[in-house]
Symmetry: C2
Subunit: 332 residues, 2 copies
């Protein structure tokens, strides 16, 4: 057993007890500085301690862990999440999911990790995913659609996630084109879709989904992120059961996904437009090649944003980062 694990064991065996640094360093045969470093690492992993001078440290809370069996018992889906790989820590659930696909993973396979050390968001950005505080996952889908309908899946997943989180928490969550979920302008969740195809045949999609469930202000590494991102706990003032949030999302996604296979993009488009915070307002689109301003009118069947430019002409935006102007319902 490592010093790290021994330390956890000692604290867990004596709940509510203060243990001094000296006592611990004697027990574990290491320096007090080493003990202090281990405590800091445990804090990063989600353990919480009360530290009182001359008394020492007292364990006040342990990181919550997902229980695969409890999830399977609670799950109401036929396919999605029925095969599940759970990790304490991975570099990125997307990488693990792609490896699982190479080994034959089927539709619905879910990879969940308590901590991602190299989580990625859209456009190669780093995605902050601390231990036990959110849902960091990748879902394998193999939809029977031609390649060029793939962008519809991004919108479909955003719709299902938005609907399920609203149902679970009652919070006023909206979709920012194409696939961020926001509360009052702050990001609560991100979706990233990696696809692989041969000619017109989509082989698979790996949907990376991150949900900030129980993060507190202290869980964000800097003010910049704190200003842009939030969590269900911060917005509601209470902690949420991640198992419940996950199972509710998978249930809703399976419903919407089945609807899509039966009736096509039509109903998904209506749902997306109803939940969107990007429409009927002036927006700025940032792309690697520059930026443009326009008034967002709707989306088309390819998932592109239909935009009226300042000169009155209509155009389609296929990708990019959009910024919402504060005023709504203005028109260019």
């Amino acid at each position: 057993m490592s010093i790290h694990e021994q330390l956890i064991r000692i604290f867990e065996d004596q709940p509510q007890q203060f243990l001094s640094g000296e006592e611990l360093s004697t027990k574990l045969n290491c320096s007090r500085t080493a003990i202090w470093k281990h405590i800091e690492r445990l804090r990063q992993e989600g353990y919480e301690f009360e530290a009182v001078s001359r008394k020492g440290y007292r364990l006040t809370s342990k990181p919550e862990k997902l229980d695969v069996q409890a999830i399977q018992n609670r799950l109401e889906t036929k396919v999605l999440g029925r095969t599940m790989f759970y990790y304490d820590e991975v570099d990125s659930t997307q990488i693990v999911a792609r490896e699982r696909i190479a080994q034959g993973a089927e539709e619905g396979t879910l990879v969940v990790a308590e901590l991602q050390t190299a989580g990625r968001g859209r456009l190669g950005r780093k995605w902050h995913s601390p231990k036990g505080k959110g849902l960091w996952m990748s879902l394998v889908l193999k939809p029977r659609i031609p390649l060029h309908f793939t962008p519809q899946l991004t919108l479909l997943i955003a719709v299902a996630l938005c609907r399920s989180l609203r149902q679970s928490t009652g919070l006023p969550i909206g979709i920012k084109w194409p696939n961020d979920l926001l509360i009052e302008g702050k990001k609560i969740s991100g979706i990233l879709l990696e696809s692989s195809a041969e000619d017109e045949n989509l082989h698979y999609v790996v949907a990376g989904i991150g949900i900030g469930v129980n993060l507190t202000q202290e869980d964000y590494p800097d003010d910049e992120l704190r200003a842009k991102a939030t969590s269900l706990a911060i917005e509601s003032g209470k902690k949420w059961d991640r198992t419940e949030i996950l199972c509710q999302f998978l249930k809703e996604l399976e419903l919407v996904y089945d609807l899509y296979h039966e009736q096509g993009f039509g109903p998904i488009k209506l749902l997306w437009e109803a939940l969107s915070v990007s429409l009927h307002r002036t927006i700025t689109c940032h792309t690697p090649r520059g930026q443009a301003v326009g008034y967002a009118v709707g989306i088309d069947d390819s998932g592109a944003l239909s935009v009226r430019l300042p000169d009155g002409s209509m155009t389609l935006w296929y990708s990019g980062d959009i910024e919402l102007s504060p005023a709504t319902h203005d028109s260019l």
Copy 2:
């Protein structure tokens, strides 16, 4: 040096000479059966021997090999093929190209092999690619287009290949939707596009291209393939310079690819329709879910085939294998 290589050396050192099996088995210190097996293997690799009883074997022709330096000297492109990886033998140039991309290969990188041991065609089919007789290659492209325009690239490459082969050989080559090249109903070339994307952003495309250049009837393993496939040599009655064919193709592709980036799919669509043998006739489409018959009218901007069904309604076919009916210009 292996027995195989020693045998090649001995034959090459004595051109026009008959060498008996006994002589060879003594020189190489192996059985006459082993010599016979090595000769058979050399034949499969493209060496040709005259065998006369009591006299032995005489090397009459060696497999032609591509010369990377000669190709680079002859090439008139700026980007395509300027970085080139040449292999005597690989499993599949597609696999090698994907590995090269993981190591940072840029747009235009070309992987060429004299022989593929596990060459693949569309829909996972085996692709027959014997040594030194064709052009078996994979080209890395990183076009600046949204994901859902990817199918247009398949048509673009078919257009460039068809045009360049017509220019090089004068043969009446046409395009069968979506991306097979035919002469008189027999396949002369196949194209396979593997794509990888993140959300709407296409990361890369690997275009697998096989051209039957100098295959003879004997190079096809069975009558079934002989009935369906042909080569430039079989159709024209003469051998072709593979370097010339390759350089002409890359030059034409770069032209068409640049045109596409400047003017979009419009001009490519017109070129494709002009070269197509699939339009204005009744066709049968075979998909994993069954088959359908219709009259092919044109293609749309997504590369889908626009088809009039027997009941008069119009539909779009996005993928599948089509079979051309013998009669042309009939209408349902």
